[in-house]
Amino acid sequence: QEEKKVTIGVSIPAADHGWTAGVVFHAERVAKLLMERNPGLHVIVKTSPDPASQANAVQDLETQGIDALVILPTDPDPLVNAIKEVKDKGTFVALVDRAPSVNDASVRDLYVAGNNPALGQVAGEYIKATTPDAEVVVIRGLPIPIDQQRQDGFDKGIEGSNVKVLDRQYGNWNRDDAFKVMQDYLTKYPKIDVVWCQDDDMAVGVLQAIEQAKRTDIQYVIAGAGSKEMIKKVMDGDKMIPVDVLYPPAMIGTALEMTAANFYSQVPVRGVYTIDATLVTEDNAQDFYFPDSPF
């Protein structure tokens, strides 16, 4: 129980879809928790919709005087310079989830990461294992690097199998767009075995489109992230959603806790800490179900 005065600034993307909403939720939850635990600690959480305004937010946090910055960049590369500004002033920087092309000690002290390539790879491997001859359609997110990393991971996952990718289109991590894209896939391809849409939000639209078309050829849909709705479906043994790939928004909380520990425990926290892209199945789903989260 130290009274040491510490201010931590947290900069995260605005809650613009389910996953980022989860990030905001967990950031706030852990911030509150930590402030209760350490009376001297002050945590300021700021959200930004895009890289440019996040760079501004980082600047504004610095104006307020912070000892540590925990940042989950909307888009990492454009924010490197802004982060370096802060780091160069001697502030502790914890980078979460999204890594810039150069990700070393010059940019951050701590890197807590979900594993984007693994998110794709785990999905790919699951498909390879369960349906080795599947014809797959892919719905991508937005044209930004993490999406590309997931695609590359996926390709690696299905490597050396007969799994065939019929098509990849952007669904913008948006339910309505995913609904449209899926509708058109269903028109375009008389037979689809598996849909990989890499995000639970988009899965909502995909499922509706399949249900509407009354198509029975689609065996299952793989999404990812671990929203409570999808975890619930996995838990209930839904045929269409047999598994979900974990990419927990709670990682922001982990990073925040570690950063606080850097100030309040004796152990200095440095380096890289990766959170696995766990495959959630009917058996372990119970462990990942948070009914209170907005996501």
Partner: protein
């Protein structure tokens, strides 16, 4: 002399027929060309099923754009409609989740009424800020866009708002997925909304006033038209159309979030303009608007069905197609 005048009148009638018709027909010609392109791109394209899908999902933009036709004809602009969809949909789902009424049928009906009232009120807000506050509609509705979207984010705490009651959901689903005599409900709704809108715009006093106000506010004022009232009512009509779109939207995914309806305002305005209504105001073409909405949706559909376009370039090609569609229209009208 009278013979002369008569013959000249005949000439006039023939010419004006050509004139008016071509301008109104132009969007439909562009649509036909697109259908042709689509059919060449993918044989599945022209199937009833695909076209019905496209028409059905154009419903949201189409219905919103019908409202936008009123606002634009009266010389204003509403940028808040996308955010308004998200806001009203959230309110509707929250209302249904609240469980204040036990009987599901009654609940659904009340929710529908509630949604329509909410739409009208949102429209009224836009209208009053613009007219009474005398703020450029562009800025006023950009402001309310921020407000509606912000409130939605707040209501949803950044996440999604999902219809909880499975019974309600089951009952409500057919409103989007059902058919009437084989025609999907949303298409029927588009047609009804458009027919009513066309009647109001072309066959009522209010419609005339809208066009009058849109083409010259002073003239309208000097003609004893209450300009601000006409403009405000146009915004309310826009709000009602948004509410109708929400009524179709909610049963589709049973859920909404703060990202619902992003950029729909631009799509709606684009549909209106592609349909032949001038942004300057003073002329509205409701049926053209519907055609414009359909064109927009078709372009996306064709892109997805085609196999030779990189997914990276889709946006670029959509942009190019819109420009080309407008050029086709222009050249048609010019020739007449």
């Amino acid at each position: 002399m009278s013979v002369n005048q008569e013959s000249s009148q005949v000439a006039i009638r023939r010419r004006s027929w050509r004139d008016i018709d071509l301008r109104a027909v132009a969007p439909f010609v562009a649509l036909a060309l697109l259908l042709l392109v689509g059919a060449l791109v993918n044989p599945n394209f022209i199937s009833i099923n695909n076209l019905a899908n496209v028409a059905t999902r154009s419903a949201f933009i189409a219905i919103i754009a019908v409202g936008a036709t009123f606002v634009i004809s009266s010389g204003d602009l509403d940028l808040s409609v996308g955010a308004m969809v998200a806001f009203i949909a959230s309110l509707m789902i929250l209302f249904m989740n609240s469980g204040v009424i036990a009987d599901p049928v009654l609940m659904l009906l009340t929710a529908i009424l509630f949604t329509i009232i909410a739409g009208a009120l949102c429209g009224l807000t836009n209208g009053l800020i613009t007219t009474v506050g005398r703020i450029e509609p562009f800025i006023a509705t950009l402001g309310t866009m921020g407000i509606y979207r912000g409130l939605t984010t707040w209501l949803s705490q950044g996440g999604a708002i999902t219809l909880k009651e499975p019974q309600l959901q089951e009952m409500y689903r057919p409103v989007y997925f059902g058919t009437i005599f084989g025609v999907p409900v949303p298409i029927v709704v588009i047609l009804c909304v458009t027919a009513v809108a066309a009647f109001i715009l072309y066959r009522t006093r209010y419609g005339r006033h809208v066009v009058g106000v849109g083409s010259n506010r002073d003239v309208a004022r000097y003609s004893g038209i209450s300009v601000n009232r006409v403009r405000t009512v146009a915004f309310v009509i826009q709000g009602l159309c948004v509410a109708v779109a929400v009524l179709l939207y909610v049963p589709r995914l049973g859920s909404t979030s703060a990202t619902t309806g992003i950029l729909w305002e631009l799509q709606a305005i684009t549909a209106v303009v592609i349909g032949g209504t001038a942004l300057k105001g003073g002329a509205g073409r409701v049926w053209g608007t519907i055609c414009g909405a359909f064109i927009l949706e078709l372009v996306g559909n064709i892109m997805l069905l085609s196999n030779f376009i990189s997914e990276y370039l889709i946006g670029a090609i959509q942009g190019a197609i819109i420009i080309i569609a407008m050029l086709v229209q222009r050249s048609l009208v010019r020739k007449s």
